[in-house]
């Protein structure tokens, strides 16, 4: 297969995305699910940053010497998305901690069993 080097970042994005999704779906351990979610989200962050990159562009900070800047919009968007991701992870971990306190386990199938199969 002929892999275009210019699309290298996107290949990484796809691999991370699928790996993250797979982890979320296949792993029964709640912490691993959160890790999977994080990987999934990071892949999207990468996608945004990659598409904002302008060849030979510098970071979008005003400078006398620079010729081209990368698109600052993508960085700004992803900054927001990262914050959202952090918040989600925090809430997820907090829930995991409380689930561990309430059930004594973090394994999804055991929790379902303790809930009576719902």
């Amino acid at each position: 297969m002929n892999i275009d080097v210019g699309l290298f970042n996107y290949w990484v994005v796809v691999i991370l995305m699928v790996a993250g999704l797979y982890t979320v779906i296949s792993k029964g351990h709640l912490i691993k699910k959160i890790i999977g979610l994080n990987i999934f989200q990071v892949s999207v962050f990468m996608m945004y940053i990659t598409m904002g990159k302008v060849e030979d562009g510098t970071a979008p900070i005003f400078s006398e010497t620079a010729v081209a800047y990368s698109n600052p919009l993508n960085s700004v968007l992803i900054l927001t998305a990262i914050v959202v991701g952090v918040a989600t992870t925090a809430v997820g971990l907090a829930l995991a901690v409380r689930i561990h306190e309430a059930y004594g386990t973090l394994d999804e199938s055991e929790i379902i069993e303790m809930d009576g199969g719902e």
């Binding site: 900070i61 900054l79 914050v83 907090a94 901690v97 306190e101």
Partner: protein, 141 residues
Amino acid sequence: MKDHDILRVTAKALIPLIFLFGLYVQFHGDFGPGGGFQAGVIFAAAIILYALIFGLDEAKAVVPPRVLEIIASLGVLLYAGVGVVTMIKGGTFLAYNALDPAHPTHGQHVGILLVELGVGLTVTAVMCAIFFAFAERGRRT
């Protein structure tokens, strides 16, 4: 870890520097890389470091959780407050130009600084609160 002198001394030396760097990132954000988010995390890092070295109770004495809640809310209020002020002054929500109609650029400076300050406050408080919330759990059980 209170007994480790090296850690204590290093931390005492580092924490002010971290704060200083945080302030730089916070208020230099409109010229260079930086802003409220990053600065907030840096501030929080300083406090978390303090908590790690000197213990949770010491840290809570410095910034009680109740204060964190208030700071977080104040940050949001500051942010929203700027928006409200711009509306009162005749612009749309967060239209900084309206802060100083005679010198729109000046208005923008003031506006972005205040908003970023709000963001910084909230992020600091929330990061610390998250840390405290998790750190506390282990001790209870």
